[in-house]
């Protein structure tokens, strides 16, 4: 088994109201040093190993896990 971690983040320039609201709350709590927060999500995938695994992960990221119109993704392979 291999493990892949997929990080999804809104592209730069796409408004992230959730991140903005979190940043606001942090400011209200006295954490003034955090200038901005961008929110995102991650997925842990447990995968059977195969020769084209990275290609398959990339494909499923594009087709399902991320919306390429507004999101970028990044894959980290753990062995």
């Amino acid at each position: 088994m291999k493990k892949a971690i997929v990080y999804i983040k809104l592209k730069d320039g796409v408004l992230d109201p959730q991140g903005k609201t979190i940043a606001l709350a942090m400011g209200n709590m006295g954490y003034d040093e955090f200038r901005s927060v961008r929110s995102g999500r991650f997925f842990e995938l447990e995968c059977e190993d195969r020769s084209d695994l990275e290609k398959r992960i990339d494909e499923v990221c594009r087709r399902l896990l991320a919306n390429p119109v507004v999101e970028n993704y990044q894959v980290e392979m753990l062995s």
Binding site: V14, L15, P17, Q18, L64, L65, N67, V69, V70
Partner: protein, 235 residues
């Protein structure tokens, strides 16, 4: 003509859509189950509002891969009439049948209220029965209705006159204060380039009788019927 109303797990406006086209407009209407790949001879497909698959991952992202969507995509790409309302609009953008994306409302709240829509064109399948200066009073009910697209594609939408509805005030002026969710260009509904697929966040099926607060939504369904009836019968 016959309407087909798709039911995904989590759809909740399928019965309203069914009632609108069947009982108010008076057309044959059939529910289409998400696991089917058969459109049952429908002449127009409605993808209704709701929370298909619990809005998991992103609104519409899972429903877009359901079996019925294979048939709907094929139907749409061959010129069939498809209207996606609210969650249905989200499914259409996820499926790539319409450009752009629907993000979380800029104020982060679920918005449920009447809005006014400026009708940008009256020469389309969906608005042929609207007067040129028509403003439609139709409710919205969504959390992810913030239409987004990057500048290049947005320019294309405008250039090709694909924006059909914009949030406006009562007199049809498109103003920032009339924008309920942060959508770019106050966009409430768009067409595909060919003009046979419409996605809109407001719910015309909830505004088909005066007792509901407005009957302006009828214009959209009546336009589809008028368009269909004006076509020469298929041989």
């Amino acid at each position: 003509m016959k309407f087909g109303v798709v039911t995904f797990p989590g759809s909740n406006c399928d019965y309203d859509s069914y009632a609108a086209t069947k009982f108010v407009i008076g057309c044959e209407t059939e529910f289409l189950w998400h696991k089917s790949e058969d459109l049952a001879g429908s002449d127009a497909i409605i993808l209704p509002g709701g929370f298909s698959y619990g809005d998991y991952l992103r609104s519409g992202a899972i429903a877009r891969f359901s079996p019925i969507m294979k048939a709907v995509e094929k139907f749409a790409r061959s010129g069939g009439i498809v209207i996606g309302i609210c969650n249905g609009f989200q499914v259409l953008v996820e499926a790539g049948l319409l450009p752009g994306a629907l993000l979380r409302n800029s104020h982060l709240r679920f918005s449920c209220k009447y809005v006014y829509l400026k009708v940008e064109r009256t020469d389309t399948v969906f608005t042929g029965e609207c007067r040129a200066d028509r403003v439609l009073k139709i409710p919205i009910a969504h959390g992810d209705g913030n239409y987004y697209n990057f500048q290049g594609e947005l320019d294309d939408l405008e250039k090709n006159n694909q924006v059909l509805f914009r949030y406006a005030n009562r007199t049809g002026q498109v103003l920032p204060e009339a924008n309920p969710n942060g959508s770019v260009g106050n966009i409430a509904g768009i067409l595909n380039r060919e003009g046979n697929v419409l996605g809109m966040m407001p719910h015309p099926e909830r505004a088909v009788e005066n007792i509901l607060g407005s009957s302006d939504g009828q214009a959209i369904f009546r336009s589809i019927v008028a368009h269909f009836n004006s076509k020469p019968a298929a041989v």
